[in-house]
Subunit: 401 residues, 2 copies
C-alpha cells in the first residue's frame, strides 16, 4: 500500500485501523467519502460504538475547477501536512490535529471537524462569531511571527524556505489572482451585467502597475510561512472554536497576503449584503459587525505581533528603534493591496464566491459585484499609501454609498 | 578518492590527469599550491610541454579570517561551481570555465587565470581598465536578469532558489556586514585613530534603522541569483579581459547587493587615494576616473537590463506600464544602501581592504577611513530617497571636500 493510487473506502478503513491508539482493534468502522472530488478524496471514518471519528484526506493527481481539469502535484499533500504540523506547534487550538501523514499515498489523517461549519456558509447565514477576531488574529500573529526572521533562527528559516518551495500551487495564485482578472483571459467568468466595470479594470493602467508591484512581492518576498489560501472556505468555525484548514498553498511569502485574504472574504460578504432582503437597518447592522471584525482582527493582530516581537524576538537587530513600526507599516500596506487583489478575482475570475453568486435577485447580485470591484480596486490603488486600518473601513463605506 | 580529505599535490595531479581531453595521458604535470590556506586549497597544475594549465580549487572545512577559525560547510564548493556554470551560460567570456566538479571532495577544476591580476591590486597600482565598465555591467545585467522572475520561468526560478539556499555563508554576511560594524562587537577591528567616528556610528539610530531595513531585504528578497561577494578581490582583470570568480556566497537576494558591492569597492579605492603622494591633480584625476566608472557601470547596467527586459522578458505582466521604471528605481535604491553597508564594514569590521590598510602615512590612512565612513553612512541614509546615480557621485564629492 505504498505506491500511489486512489484509496477505496475499504482501504481507507484499513489504513485508519492501522494507526496506533486511535480505534479499538476489533471495532466496526464506517467510511463516507465526503470530498467534492475536485482536488482530494476525503474519507470520514467513524467508530459508531464510541462516536470517535477522523478524516483521511488524500490528494488526487489533478485539479478540477469549474469544469476544467489539469494535473497537479501530489507534493501539495506533504506541504499541507507539514504546514499543519507547524501551525499546530504554534497554536494547537486553531488547527486540526494531524495523526499521520503517508507521503507515497499523499494521505493525511487528521482530526474530524464535522461539528464545525465552513465559515463562508456561516457568514452567508449571517451568524456572528464573537471569538473569531481573537482566534484568527492569534493564528496570524503566531504563524507569521514564528516562521519569519523575527521569531526563528535565520539559518533554520532558510532551510524551511527550501522545504516549502511550492511552484505549482504558487503558479495557480500568480495566474488566477494577479494576472487573468486584469485582462480578457479565457479563465475569467465575467458576469455579463458588469462587463463595463470589468472592461474598465482591463484598461486601468494605474491599477495594473499596483497589481504588478504586489505580484512582484508575492514572487520574491520570503517573509514568513503563509497559509497561502486563507479565505473563509479554509476556516471551520463554531461559536467557541475556529480551525484553519487546507494550507496546501503554503510557501514563504509576504505576511499581508494571508491577512489580506481574511479581510477580502469578510469584505466580499460585506458587499454581498446587497442580496439580503431584510430591512435596511439589519443589513447595515451586519455590515457594521463585519467591518468591526476587520478592525478588531488588525488591532489584535498588531498587538499580539508586537508583543511576540518584544518578548520572543530572536533577532538582536529587530530591537532597532523605529524598525518595528516600519515593519508593521509595510505589512499593513501589503494587507490592503492583497485584500484588494483577493476581492477583484472573486468577482469575474475563475473561482468566485458563493456569498455573491448565490444572491437570487439579479440586480442585487450586480450591485454586490460592483461594490466588490470598487472596493477591491480602491484597496489596491491605496495600498502604498495606507497608514491605518481605519482607511480600509472608510473605503468600504465609500463603496456602498 | 570519493570521500572528503584535503588533497596532496600528487593527488591533485592525478585528479587533473583523469579529466578527459585536457592533458596528454603521458605528459609530465607539475603542481603548485597557491592558496592562502584560509578557506581553500588552490592547486595550479601545469603541463610544461604545452604551456597548458588549470586550477584545482578545493574547499577546506573551515574558514580562517584575521586569526579566527570556524567550521564552514563544504557545500559552498557546490554552490560556487553551480553558480559559475550558470554565469558561464549567460556570459561565458566573463567567468572562468569549469572543467569539472567533484562534490565529495568539494573540488572544482577550472580555467587558470594567472595572466590576470586581482582587480583590487590593479586599482591599488592605479591602473585603468577601459573595458571594465562594459564587462561588469554586462555581467550584472545578464546574471541578475536571467535568474530573476523577469528572465526565467517563475516556477523554474523557485527550484533554483531552493538549489541556492546558502545559510552558512549568508550568516557571515548578516553578521559581518549588517550587524557587527554598528555596535561594539568582538569581531570588529577598530583603528584607534577613528574611534570617535566609529562610536558615532554605534550611536546613530537613524543609521541603524536604515541598516535594519536593508538587512531585512537581504534576508527575505529572493529577487535574483547573486554572486554574493562581488568586491574587487573577486574580480580577475587585465586590459582586455574581466573574470568574475569565487561565487561561494551565491544565493537569491536583492540585485542591489551585487551592484552595490562593486561600487563600494571602487569608492573605497576612491577614499584610499588620500594615501597617494602624487600631486593633487593626478589624485583628482584618478578619482574622477573611479567616479566616471561608477556612473558608466550603472548607466550601462540600466541600459542592458532594460534591453534584456524588453527583448527577452518571459513575464507578460512585466510589460505593465511604469513597472520597469518602478523596478529599476528600487534596484538603484538598494544599490545605494548596500554600497554604503559594504563600505562601512571595510573600515572597522573584521575584514578590511588593502586599498586603505596599506596606506603608510598614518594621517592619510585616517583621512581615507573617515571618508569611507562618511560616504558609506551617507549612502545608507540616502538610499530610500535615491533617484539617479549622479547622487552617488555627489555624495562621494562631498565626502572628500
Amino acid at each position: 500500500m505504498t505506491s500511489y493510487h486512489a484509496l477505496t473506502e475499504a482501504e481507507a478503513i484499513a489504513y485508519a485501523r492501522s494507526i496506533p491508539n486511535l480505534f479499538a482493534p476489533d471495532s466496526e468502522l464506517s467510511s463516507r467519502e465526503i470530498g467534492d472530488g475536485n482536488l482530494n478524496l476525503v474519507f470520514h471514518i467513524s467508530e459508531p460504538s464510541t462516536g470517535r471519528s477522523i478524516i483521511l484526506k488524500q490528494a488526487l493527481p489533478y485539479a478540477k475547477v469549474v469544469g476544467e481539469s489539469w494535473p497537479l502535484t501530489l507534493d501539495r499533500a506533504r506541504i499541507e501536512s507539514e504546514a499543519l504540523m507547524i501551525h499546530e506547534s504554534l497554536c494547537s487550538d486553531l488547527v486540526p490535529h494531524v495523526w499521520a501523514f503517508e507521503k507515497e499515498l499523499a494521505l493525511t489523517v487528521m482530526q474530524d471537524l464535522s461539528d464545525h461549519v465552513i465559515m463562508r456558509k456561516g457568514l452567508m447565514e449571517r451568524n456572528r462569531y464573537p471569538l473569531f477576531a481573537e482566534h484568527i488574529s492569534r493564528f496570524l500573529a503566531n504563524a507569521l511571527f514564528y516562521t519569519s526572521d523575527l521569531g526563528r533562527n535565520q539559518q533554520e528559516k532558510k532551510e524551511s524556505v527550501k522545504q516549502f518551495i511550492n511552484p505549482e500551487l504558487c503558479k495557480i495564485t500568480e495566474d488566477l489572482i494577479f494576472d487573468d482578472p486584469y485582462r480578457n483571459a479565457d479563465t475569467n467568468n465575467v458576469p455579463p451585467a458588469i462587463m463595463d466595470a470589468v472592461e474598465h479594470i482591463w484598461n486601468d493602467k494605474e491599477l495594473h502597475l499596483e497589481v504588478a508591484i504586489l505580484r512582484n512581492s508575492f514572487l520574491t518576498n520570503a517573509q514568513a510561512l503563509l497559509h497561502g489560501d486563507l479565505h473563509t472556505g479554509s476556516i471551520f468555525i463554531k461559536q467557541d472554536s475556529t480551525k484553519v484548514i487546507d494550507p496546501e498553498f503554503a510557501f514563504y511569502g509576504p505576511m499581508g497576503f494571508d491577512i489580506g485574504a481574511v479581510f477580502a472574504n469578510l469584505l466580499l460578504n460585506f458587499a454581498a449584503q446587497e442580496g439580503w432582503s431584510a430591512d435596511v437597518h439589519s443589513r447595515a447592522d451586519y455590515r457594521s459587525y463585519l467591518l468591526a471584525t476587520v478592525k478588531d482582527i488588525w488591532t489584535r493582530f498588531e498587538g499580539e505581533f508586537r508583543s511576540l516581537w518584544n518578548r520572543y524576538g530572536v533577532d538582536r537587530m529587530s530591537k532597532t528603534d523605529g524598525y518595528q513600526d516600519w515593519y508593521i507599516q509595510q505589512v499593513l500596506r501589503d494587507t490592503f493591496g492583497y485584500a484588494g487583489c483577493k476581492m477583484v478575482r472573486r468577482v469575474h475570475g475563475l473561482a468566485q464566491v458563493a456569498d455573491i453568486n448565490q444572491i437570487e435577485d439579479e440586480s442585487a447580485k450586480e450591485r454586490a459585484q460592483r461594490i466588490s470591484l470598487q472596493l477591491g480596486t480602491s484597496l489596491i490603488k491605496h495600498h502604498r499609501r495606507a497608514v491605518t486600518i481605519d482607511e480600509m473601513l472608510e473605503l468600504a463605506d465609500k463603496a456602498i454609498n
